[in-house]
């Protein structure tokens, strides 16, 4: 393949091993003497643990030991990695001690010779629970807060009126206020005096706002038209096909532990596990993430299970493995989304947006997961300008605790929620204002000459050209014709819908100083080490982690271009904290933009030094030596040249280096970008709704995305396909639903509906290229765009198909039942 691979859709080098069954996933691994851990989980959403009897389980042949929360009491709380002012962080024990807070909360750990024995023994554990009322519904969870707010407002009014005769009125006020608060508390009591954690009043972990409230209120007061929507963004599950797994091996001689786990960010896992939970020096823990079967967010976070295996391996002196079952995955992997939002958009008489006001209840679940507090705030509230020039925005988010599985980032994280809300508002407003859905968008797009564009919600967009992407999508779908066909079909009683959505996302998570100022407990740079071997081949070590994204291929394409070394001679290594420089991992579409840029930086340093060595060997001036097609040659005298082999060898032998030069040829670079990257695009979905059953069938899906420069178009397209399937899954099928008592209704893949091959069409993709102006590759992210742009395109399409029947909105997922009820106005 040689030197010329950048920008080409070359086949992936990681595939042969995966296609032939030679991948190394964590659960494939075995060690001598290895034991299996099985975790007994709470069947209650909320209960006190009265007592746990493990004697029978412990006595089973083949059981090494059984542990409960008290045994692990000395461990730290599982940390939340992102803080807000005033954040309430309930203690999150690795294994529950006195109280369980969701169905799935770990209660006991059985370690046995094999997984069958461990599971059997779990049945013999006797746990006595005292069930407590559970808080499940988001609005009910914070109802007492609203009541208290009303009471407080009343009290203020009384206070203001009482000024002239304070002494006399004092007592009366006390009584009035007291009565109101009492009334509020009484009604709260009636609704259930339920708190998930006593320290979080009104079940609220934080209240977060962004934007200018007064200015926004004023825009609404003056608006010619206001569009209002109440939206539920459904709770979903990442559902990587490989369940999470962890295998820990303690070495008594060195007191070191090696932990193989399904991780998207082994260094973050090591840092948080060692420093915050286990309380061991970081260098004693080595985290290795080998082949990982998909992450989609769910493998970013610190969970109790990986701590459990480390703890148990150290305690028992044998390697201990835990491998999640699917049933277990659904109640132990973090969930995603789950917002209830009221959104209002103000317009002037001409259809121009004059303001946006948003109030969101964001479900956090029972505990604060690693990035949970960042998702509904900085990854959501700051995206509320979308592609539009909105003069003023105000957004308030309540982070709400409930007795459900913790909620965190799932593919897109915050950005899909923001885009869904905006794109549903745009379509709804268009209908109310009798405008074409594309016309209202065009009218409000940020124009190319407005970049860099400062939004009303903190972000400064670097570049974009939104109308071009929309035009391309409309052309691909044949929009004008399609609208005609739709009108014809409707005459024949067929319900065809066309849904447009335009999206923008901020990804490539960084810059560190910025995210730090916003509360991140993490740096967001990336590092890379480029090492030239004595024979001129290259080993590249990256802090990014590939779990399906194809870094072994794309990163080699990048380094090949930078160094002029044949693609075949470049080896990409990732996923091991012991051998790699520090890194922050792969999520939020940051690998190419941040990790790839670190590679470029390290490669450039290698090249600079290589040129110095070449000049010395060629007895030429450094300024006269250039790297052309993989050879270092003297300008004007190409026959005088040195190869990478010559340079590599000489740098290591060091027999003939420039005076004072250090031997070796390798550099580590740390890249911290100056801004996020801002991919964008336009998606169009054509659906047909079955008039009898409400079943939605996607007929066509067009996605035009702009991710800047394209390293490997084949891999980019694959990422878009996968993202679209996730987004369409959320729109039509997926929901992690609970009963009012907190029992999950998604116990296995039989209940949680994932999109299957025959649910989906073949996707039609297009792209535009607006290079990122501030990173050396000019790249943006692509992994999440499909999941961001597609849900509103689908819902807009279905509402478009049914609008003439009076349907204005349906909450996701658009199951046949919900659609049928909406079109039959029930």
């Amino acid at each position: 393949m040689g030197l010329d691979t950048f920008g080409k859709g070359i086949k992936r080098r990681e595939d042969p091993r995966l296609i032939t069954g030679k991948g190394t996933y964590v659960d494939n691994m075995k060690m001598v003497g290895m034991a299996h851990a099985y975790i007994l989980r709470s069947p209650y959403a909320h209960a006190r643990i009265i007592k746990i009897d493990v004697a029978k389980a412990k006595a089973q042949p083949g059981v090494l030991d059984v542990f409960v929360g008290k045994d692990m009491e000395a461990l730290g709380s599982i940390p939340c990695g992102w803080s807000h002012p005033g954040l309430i962080t309930p203690k999150h024990p690795v294994v529950a001690i006195d109280e369980v807070n969701y169905v799935g909360d770990p209660v006991a750990v059985i370690v046995a010779e094999d997984r069958y024995i461990a599971r059997d023994a779990a049945d013999l554990i006797d746990v006595e629970y005292d069930p407590l009322p559970a808080v499940i519904d988001l609005e009910k969870a914070v109802a007492s807060r609203e009541q208290a707010r009303v009471a407080a407002a009343h009290a203020d009014v009384h206070h203001a009126g009482a000024h002239h005769d304070e002494a006399a009125a004092g007592e009366a006020i006390e009584q009035t206020v007291g009565a109101e608060v009492k009334a509020a508390l009484a009604s709260q009591e009636a609704a259930g005096p339920h708190l998930v954690h006593n320290e979080a009043a009104h079940n609220t972990a934080f209240t977060w706002t962004i934007g200018d409230k007064a200015k926004t209120d004023e825009a609404f007061a003056k608006a010619a038209h206001v569009t209002t929507l109440r939206i539920r963004n459904n709770r979903i599950q990442a559902s990587a096909i490989e369940p999470r797994a962890a295998l820990a091996s303690y070495d008594a001689a060195s007191e070191g532990i090696t932990l193989w786990m399904t991780s998207q960010n082994p260094h973050i896992h090591r840092l948080l596990a060692a420093a915050f939970v286990l309380g061991i020096p970081e260098h004693k823990l080595r985290v290795i993430a080998p082949d990982v079967g998909g992450g989609f967010g769910s493998k970013i976070f610190v969970y109790g299970e990986e701590i459990i295996v480390v703890w148990a391996s150290r305690k028992l002196g044998v390697p201990v493995k835990w491998a999640s079952e699917r049933r277990e995955a659904y109640i132990s992997d973090a969930h995603g989304r789950d917002h209830v939002t009221t959104a209002e958009m103000a317009f002037d008489a001409g259809g121009r947006i004059t303001g946006l006001r948003v109030k969101t209840l964001a479900n956090l679940g029972a505990y604060l997961s690693t990035f949970s507090t960042a998702v509904p705030t900085y990854l959501y509230g700051t995206l509320l300008s979308g592609q539009y020039d909105i003069p003023t925005i105000f957004c308030e988010v309540l982070g709400v605790l409930t007795n459900t599985v913790p909620v965190d980032a799932v593919r897109g994280a915050g950005r899909p929620e923001a885009t869904f809300l905006l794109e549903r508002l745009m379509d709804t407003a268009a209908r109310e204002l009798k405008m074409e859905p594309t016309a209202i968008r065009r009218k409000n797009f940020i124009q190319p000459n407005q970049f860099p564009y400062q939004t009303a919600v903190a972000l400064q967009y670097d570049s974009g050209n939104y109308e071009v992407a929309l035009d391309k999508a409309l052309e691909m779908v044949g929009y004008a014709d399609l609208r005609k066909q739709q009108a014809e079909a409707r005459k024949q009683g067929k319900l065809i819908g066309i849904g447009v959505s335009t999206y923008l996302e901020a990804c490539g998570l960084a810059p560190s100083a910025l995210v730090g100022s916003l509360g991140a407990g993490a740096g967001q740079w990336e590092s890379a080490l480029v090492r030239v071997m004595p024979t001129g081949t290259i080993n590249v070590y990256t802090g990014s982690h590939s779990h399906g994204q194809g870094h072994e291929t794309t990163f080699a394409q990048v380094v090949s271009r930078e160094l002029g070394v044949p693609y075949e001679n470049i080896n990409i290594l990732h996923g091991d904290t012991e051998t790699l420089p520090y890194g922050w991992g792969t999520y939020g579409s940051r690998s190419a933009a941040v990790g790839g840029s670190a590679l470029v930086k390290a490669s450039q340093r290698v090249r600079e030094k290589a040129i110095k060595i070449a000049a010395h060997l060629l007895e030429a001036n450094e300024a006269d030596v250039e790297l052309v097609e993989g050879k270092f040659q003297v300008k004007g005298a190409p026959s005088r040249s040195k190869s990478w082999f010559d340079i590599g060898l000489q740098s290591h032998l060091a027999h003939n280096l420039p005076q004072g030069m250090e031997p070796g040829l390798e550099f580590t670079a740390f890249y911290d970008p100056s801004n996020f990257v801002y991919p964008f695009g336009a998606h169009i979905c054509v659906t047909e709704v079955d008039a009898d059953t409400g079943q939605v069938q996607i007929k066509r899906f067009i996605a035009v995305d702009d991710c800047g420069n394209r390293i490997n178009p084949m891999i980019i397209d694959g990422q878009v396909h996968g993202g679209l399937a996730c987004g369409i899954g959320q729109a039509l099928y997926e929901e992690a639903a609970y009963t009012d008592e907190g029992q999950p209704l998604f116990g296995s893949m039989m209940d949680y509906a994932l999109p299957r091959a025959h649910f989906l069409p073949s996707f039609e993709l297009g792209h535009t290229v607006t290079p990122c102006p501030h990173n050396p590759l000019g790249v943006k992210g692509i992994g999440e765009t499909g999941a961001i742009g597609s849900p509103p395109a689908v819902v807009n399409s279905v509402v478009d198909a049914l609008a003439h029947l009076g349907v204005t909105h349906i909450d996701m997922p658009l199951t046949p039942e919900k659609v049928w009820r909406a079109m039959n106005a029930m």
């Binding site: 992936r12 296609i19 996933y25 075995k30 990982v292 998909g294 679209l724 039989m750």
Partner: protein, 156 residues
């Protein structure tokens, strides 16, 4: 314990197993054939698909003792003489995988699809794959791979 004899990828393997041992665990744990993956435990995802006597079967719902006397092919047995099976090759050529976890099952299911219908339409491929879940690819390139394999195999 129960005695079983199963021919796995052409080799006769004898074992004494717990009667409740699942075939997938027998293959993975006893024989180290870890190319067969477990994704759902309930016959929903197809990651554990193997061929039993030439038929694609989800090995998470078969007991090892039920496979006694049969001929099992796993992903490790599909390539011949170090050469990928044409379906494997087609998956590589067409970017039919990302994380690769569903891939063994997808490929073995595809063997079955093409065996019964050597020239399937796109819709037939999609229906044939309905028992296999992939979270990465959106199926687009998997379908493309199977169609390409059908072409390459020319009806064989």
């Amino acid at each position: 314990m129960a005695k079983i004899e199963i021919k796995v990828n052409g080799k006769a393997r004898k074992a004494d197993v717990d009667p409740r041992l699942l075939l997938v665990h027998y293959l993975r744990e006893n024989l180290n054939l870890t190319g067969t993956n477990v994704g759902c435990d309930t016959s929903q995802c197809g990651a554990c698909t193997v061929m039993i006597d030439g038929q694609a079967v989800k090995s998470c719902t078969v007991l090892a003792v039920q496979a006694d006397g049969s001929d099992v092919t796993t992903i490790e047995g599909l390539a011949q003489d170090g050469k990928m099976h044409p379906i494997q090759q087609a998956f590589w050529d067409n970017h039919g995988l990302q994380c690769g976890y569903c891939t063994s099952g997808m490929i073995l299911t595809s063997v079955e699809i093409l065996k019964h219908n050597p020239h399937p339409s796109e819709a037939e491929v999609r229906h044939g794959l309905e028992g296999n879940v992939c979270r990465c690819t959106g199926y687009h390139n998997i379908v493309k791979s199977v169609l390409a394999a059908a072409d390459a195999m020319g009806g064989k």
